[in-house]
């Protein structure tokens, strides 16, 4: 019966979606906003990657909301999972576990880890020039640090975990404050909130596009710190239960 109702629900939903998408004027002229942005983004903001100009300049407030959503999700996961009283599983039956310190994995990671960090920071710093930006680079940095934990598992004491969480919290709060402070400074100096206000510089060089690179660095650090603390929280519970 539940399968039948699921089928009815899915068919109704797909019918609705098909009807709606058939009537939407997707990619038909007049695309006023899209055409305006394509024509004016380079002169307005001084970026060569137009997506960045949309994300940070034309729709900067939406990016702030996106950061708030990510922050809420990360803090919710932390709140749920740091409750260590009722998350104790039964001791595992010690079946097959991946070997903890594999020579090949460990040394491959020693090669890969700095490479991943460089790629992550490159993607963040060049967000206004090439595809990519703060969100993507932050995720790359977070997964670099987490791969480090996965490949070299060690029993860390509670104080170490505590200090790691504190450092991540400081990085995340500082970058969030930086993002909003840049927006407020634009507001005080007579522009709109989050409007880019420094000089554009030479088109295509690293120090160009006004405040957009700084905003993207703040976004990248915030996303990286948030996701690493989320993954560390998940992994801590894991290692606790496996070493029981």
């Amino acid at each position: 019966m539940s399968k039948f109702s699921t089928l009815i629900f899915i068919s109704g939903l797909s019918f609705l979606l098909i009807v709606i998408t058939a009537q939407l004027p997707i990619a038909h002229p007049p695309m006023l906003i899209g055409q305006y942005i394509i024509d004016h983004a380079v002169q307005d903001t001084g970026v060569t990657n137009i997506v960045t100009s949309v994300v940070l300049a034309y729709r900067g407030l939406d990016t702030l909301g996106e950061l708030a959503i990510l922050f809420t999700a990360a803090s919710g996961v932390g709140l749920l999972l740091s409750n260590k009283l009722n998350t104790k599983l039964q001791p595992s039956t010690k079946t097959v576990r991946l070997s903890n310190s594999n020579f090949i994995i460990e040394h491959a990671l020693n090669l890969l880890f700095p490479l991943l960090l460089v790629v992550g920071f490159y993607v963040i710093f060049h967000g206004h020039l090439t595809p990519g930006g703060g969100f993507q680079g932050g995720v790359i940095i977070a997964s670099a640090f987490f791969l480090n934990i996965l490949a070299k598992p060690y029993k860390s004491s509670d104080s170490e975990i505590e200090s790691t969480h504190n450092n991540l919290t400081i990085i995340e709060s500082l970058s969030g404050v930086t993002f909003i402070a840049i927006g407020l400074y634009a507001l005080i100096s007579g522009h709109d909130f989050l409007e880019p206000f420094l000089s554009h510089g030479q088109l295509g060089s690293l120090w160009s596009a006004g405040t957009l690179p700084f905003l993207y660095i703040a976004v990248g650090l915030k996303v990286g710190a948030e996701l690493s603390s989320l993954l560390i929280t998940l992994y801590d519970i894991d290692s606790e239960e496996l070493t029981d």
Binding site: T95, V96, L98, P131, Q136, L227
Partner: protein, 96 residues
């Protein structure tokens, strides 16, 4: 036929078959790997559609972080075995 359309057709076929693999593979780790194959193929489709930003996001989040979180979930449920899923059935019920 356009060459990029041909590539896109092959990739869509790969995506559909790996989605079926996610459903029917007995080994859980292999199923997680198959789900990250879906994301990687989707990355190529985004790159063909000239959306490199979306492609990077899909590669970093869908293929990288998503499979990491799924793998942590498998480990938490004691399904993280390379050999087969049979060794869990005789043990304690996972996930309780």
């Amino acid at each position: 036929m356009d060459i990029s359309a041909l590539i896109a057709l092959i990739i869509v076929f790969i995506m559909l078959s790996s989605a079926l693999c996610v459903l029917f593979l007995p080994n859980m780790i292999a199923a997680v790997m198959a789900s990250s194959v879906i994301s990687l193929s989707l990355t190529i489709i985004f790159a063909l559609l000239k959306a490199p930003d979306v492609a990077m996001t899909e590669a970093a989040i869908g293929a990288g972080l998503g499979s990491l979180i799924l793998a942590i979930g498998l480990k938490r449920l004691n399904y993280f075995n390379i050999e087969s899923h049979q060794s869990n059935v005789s043990g304690t019920d996972p996930g309780q």
